[in-house]
């Protein structure tokens, strides 16, 4: 489903160049669950941004379902992100003025789904992540674990083929972290969704089908 070829991202400043992702070759099969483990600053988030078509590589290519994404227009990249990829961001990135329910509805609204259908699907998703009674809460009224679960529900909104999760247990206590891992495993099992998780949590790595290690931009199995 995902294939990267010599994927490289270099951040240039006036005086130096930082190689965040260094010639990464990765292949992810449809329906698989892989984890990328590594310390902070290893380039995990950059790699996920490149795979998720949020960022463009300096060199190399990302193939999504066999399509060379470097040939896609900006509009096609956005459509791919909206329809085929669900993001679970490290810092939640929930819209603070919207309730939990509205945050989950957002990707559907962007896709043009009818408001009534948006509401029904969003309620089901919130129930699925155990937040059926928190729909009308603003993000600031939710705990960190609850916010994480809202971002998971939002990522699932358009029933994506691929879910990219960046440090999903990063700032959670062990108990909540375990619940989130269980939830991700459940989604992967039930929906057969491809799951790519970047983490420095060994517990996540243990439940993934395949684990890659990333260090100074290089990916190793």
């Amino acid at each position: 489903m995902i294939k990267t070829v010599d994927l490289t991202k270099i951040y240039r400043t006036c005086s130096s160049a930082i190689v965040a992702v260094n010639h990464v070759n990765l292949r992810v099969r449809r329906g698989s669950f892989i984890s990328i483990i590594g310390p902070s600053g290893a380039g995990k988030t950059t790699l996920l941004n490149l795979i998720g078509l949020i960022d463009k590589p300096t060199y190399g290519k990302v193939f999504f379902n066999g399509v060379d994404t470097s040939l896609l227009s900006e509009k096609e990249r956005r459509e791919t992100r909206l329809l085929k990829i669900g993001f679970i961001f490290q810092t939640f990135n929930l819209l603070p003025q919207l309730t939990a329910l509205e945050n989950v509805e957002l990707p559907m609204a962007l896709m043009g789904v009818h408001p009534r259908e948006q509401r029904e699907r969003a309620l089901k998703l919130l129930e699925a992540v155990g937040l059926g009674d928190r729909g009308d809460h603003l993000p600031r009224r939710l705990s960190v674990g609850e916010m994480r679960r809202v971002t998971i529900a939002r990522a699932l909104a358009n029933n994506p083929q691929l879910i990219i999760a960046d440090e999903p247990t990063g700032d959670l206590d062990p108990e909540t972290g375990s619940k989130i891992i269980d939830l991700l495993c459940f989604i992967h099992r039930e929906r057969k969704t491809t799951l790519i998780v970047a983490t420095h949590d060994e517990k996540v790595a243990r439940v993934a089908e395949k684990t890659y290690r990333m260090y100074e931009g290089k990916l190793e199995t």
């Binding site: 960022d55 459509e79 992100r81 993001f87 961001f89 990135n93 003025q97 919207l98």
Partner: protein, 389 residues
């Protein structure tokens, strides 16, 4: 949820800033409407004066200020009429006394009208086109007792045909009410020349003569002849009267447009500043939207819906304030109770001005949203999403 609903929540989230922005736009639009309504009223009155006395020569005292056909001050002896009638090309010469008071009755101390016209009653329909004299009642026949009053004065003082009024200490009867559309005549009292001369102590004096020419007479030549023959008068043809007035109208028009542009630029800058602040603060939100795949059109829609909503709210509030201001100033400057301007609101603030002001407010707000939209669309999403706040 609809994407445009997010803009409402954004505005609600920054309540104080939104209110201040709306108030800023509202005051700009209020100023624009207030100034435009006042200047448009003056321009309408001046333009309306041009409908009177078309193709006729107006004779007034030399060096008198004249607005279209009407003199402001300056008198000439009534015998001038006889001298004018001696000119071969002149068919008729109608003497008139025209007294204009900005604040009704303030100068004359007589009945509170803004315009008092005295002329031979048998020449009334010859001078004013019938459209201006839609009379409720009858034409005055008793030149020492009967008068015509304009609709605005009649409504203000509850007058109708047969009512009595006291004018300069004398009791007069209202023969009819002028119900035509003329702004000037709506605030006028028309009576016989003799009566006005007596009441205002203008015995033997008039301040204008309307000269009707015989067919095929050359207007310019006759006007020159009059000025050569009677050295204390000016004989103004229609084109000369326009020449005197058009620069004033053009200047008013220039200031009117200048004020509009100035106020709209200020409103635009205000909205653009507020919106740039809003989107700067919401950079992460917009980056999230773009990251999850929001099309450019949705981002455009959200920001433009936000700015146009500011335009609609600010513009509507501005129209309300502007309407109140226009009524207030018109009432203060003319000494006519505000209620009459409220009843006649759409004459004071024409629907075209309302539509224009609202459309301009929305348009300028939409245009002001374009800069912040490009600001958002140029955001580097991966860097914004990573940044710590």
């Amino acid at each position: 949820m609809r994407i445009s609903a997010i803009c409402l929540k954004n505005l609600k989230r920054r309540r104080l800033r939104t209110i201040l922005c709306i108030c800023g736009i509202a005051f700009s639009i209020a100023f624009l409407v207030g100034v435009s309504a006042t200047t448009l009223r003056v321009m309408a009155i001046v333009r309306e004066m041009n409908f009177f006395f078309e193709d006729e020569i107006i004779v007034v005292a030399r060096n008198t200020l004249v607005i279209q056909g009407f003199p402001i001050g300056g008198t000439i002896p009534e015998k001038t009429v006889d001298e004018l009638e001696e000119i071969a090309e002149v068919e008729d010469a109608v003497p008139m006394l025209f007294i204009l008071e900005l604040r009704a009755g303030e100068v004359s101390g007589a009945f509170p009208a803004n315009v008092t016209i005295g002329l031979p009653l048998d020449k009334l329909l010859l001078l004013f086109p019938s459209v201006f004299l839609r009379i409720e009642g009858y034409l005055p026949s008793d030149q020492y007792k009967e008068v015509l009053v304009g609709r605005s004065i009649a409504d203000q003082h509850n007058l109708f045909a047969g009512s009595s009024i006291s004018f300069g200490g004398k009791n007069l009867t209202v023969a009819g009410v002028i119900r035509g559309p003329s702004i000037i005549l709506s605030r006028s009292i028309i009576m016989s020349l003799r009566l006005l001369q007596e009441l205002q102590r203008y015995e033997g004096q008039i301040n204008m003569v309307v000269v009707k020419l015989k067919p095929n007479a050359d207007v310019e030549e006759v006007a020159d002849k009059i000025e050569r023959r009677i050295n204390y008068v000016m004989a103004l043809t229609e084109s000369e009267r326009n020449e005197l007035t058009y620069p004033i109208l053009e200047e008013l028009s220039f200031w009117n447009y200048g004020t509009k542009i100035f106020m709209l630029i200020i409103s635009g800058m205000l909205v653009a500043t507020v919106e740039i602040m809003n989107v700067s603060e919401s950079r992460r939100d917009f980056a999230t939207l773009i990251a999850i795949g929001a099309p450019e059109t949705s981002i455009f829609k959200m920001i433009l819906a936000e700015t146009s909503l500011l335009g609609v709210l600010g513009g509507s509030l501005g129209l309300l304030f502007g309407g109140v201001a226009a009524v207030f100033f018109a009432s203060i400057y003319t000494d006519i109770p505000a209620i009459f301007f409220i009843q006649d609101f759409f004459n004071l603030v024409p629907p075209r001005l309302i539509a224009e002001a609202l459309a301009l407010a929305i348009l300028i707000c939409i245009l002001s949203g374009i800069v912040p939209t490009f600001f958002v669309l140029r955001t580097n999403i991966s860097e914004t999403l990573r940044a710590e706040y």
